[in-house]
Symmetry: C2
Subunit: 246 residues, 2 copies
């Protein structure tokens, strides 16, 4: 939600408020910067009990603009919190490394990077970043929010010729963290920095200004994991204790 700006959260809150005939409030798993995509976002909302979930999906499909889709609606217990119950978030970052740039049909979600990208060097840099660290160098600091995160996956794949895709998973990410990681790894891939450089930044206690944050449009939130229903409340309480910002 950003006053005066069109956002996915704003558009969806408006449609749901119309259906509920009263203002509702949406809680999302992963807030994304302007220009970042989400194909696997999760949100929760309290709706009047008389609203049946099944007919809601086609009604929302008709009400929402074509660039905002709700793929599924599931009733949950009050223990479920889209943000605080989440176990981990999965992102991908698409980079076209061809001399001619991104394929037009995928350009909206793909960075054009005709500067060279050494996959082995980038993946070597990734391996040294895995695990629980203070990612302060990679974060835009927010008052009272921890920058200690458990980075569970960070690797580059080459799923088709001319395309590199980063897979990035963590319990949670601080602000601009994925785009800063990708920016640092692309500097390694281009040969501007050695593979050991991104991990050296983990000793910093504040943002590293020498990192070029990668553009927003290559990044997509693709999945959010939750525990089994019985563990939802415990997970939410644990997360709320640990941090005030995810």
């Amino acid at each position: 939600m950003q006053p005066g700006r069109r956002t996915v959260c704003g558009v969806l809150t408006e449609a749901l408020s119309t259906l509920a005939r009263r203002p509702v409030s949406l809680t999302v798993a992963g807030r994304t910067d302007a220009g970042v995509h989400a194909t696997g976002q999760v949100a929760h909302v309290d709706l009047p009990p008389e609203l049946e979930p099944a007919p809601l999906l086609p009604r929302l499909a008709r009400m929402l603009p074509r660039d905002v889709r709700v793929r599924a609606i599931t009733p949950v217990s009050s223990d479920f919190d889209a943000r605080f119950s989440a176990l981990r978030r999965h992102y991908r970052y698409r980079v076209a490394v061809t001399p001619y740039g991104a394929e037009p049909l995928r350009a909206r979600e793909t960075l054009s990077w005709p500067h060279g990208a050494d996959l082995d060097a980038m993946n070597s840099a990734c391996a040294a970043l895995l695990g629980e660290h203070d990612f302060a160098a990679f974060c835009r600091r927010r008052e009272g929010a921890t920058t200690i995160r458990a980075l569970q996956r960070l690797r580059w794949l080459a799923p088709e010729p001319g395309l590199l895709v980063a897979e990035v998973s963590a319990d949670a990410f601080c602000h601009s963290m994925v785009r800063s990681l990708v920016g640092a790894l692309l500097a390694v891939g281009r040969g501007q920095r050695p593979p050991g450089w991104p991990a050296q930044l983990l000793s910093r206690t504040c943002r590293a200004s020498e990192i070029t944050v990668a553009p927003a449009h290559g990044l997509t939130l693709i999945q959010v994991d939750y525990p089994e229903p019985a563990a939802l409340a415990a997970r939410a309480n644990q997360t709320r204790r640990l941090r005030t910002s995810s």
Copy 2:
């Protein structure tokens, strides 16, 4: 090329004419209707011999708009004709069959079809259309152009949940043929027509007005096949004899 309209051919001809410092003329393998995409289009052009092919690719990448990309440039013999040497064209048509419509990041190249689509019925209808037939029922007739085509592949796949993709290959297609085939098959998938209906239309000698032509934006030309270099001239002569329009 369409006077007064922005087309891929027009944009590309303009850029190549600038590089060649003289007007050049582009011959393309498959002319596509407005709104149809092409990821595997092939074209040929005569350029001044002093223009080296290798540096052309990055120069074109900088000159062309982001929605037109040249992926490769290859010198060919004068026997090569992008249109008449082609052995076959391959298209795909993407259909989202979810109740919520196409994924926003793929909506530009995907038809939203929340009406049901019986994959078995559609593929049964496809099988009866394969081979050499007069596809007059599926073609917008052009004066002097044959409507006899050899349909080599026509099948629907379900590569991911909620998505159907038609693969369509032939030596050549007459005007609006792929979109008419897809439209007829979707009518079968929805249960409006029996699986035998599309093949029954093959006995017609002119366009079948009861076919709803599928929208352009779901269709993409993905590949054009050519013979080995030694066979190029023979193939072009054979094609020119057989038809005046591909």
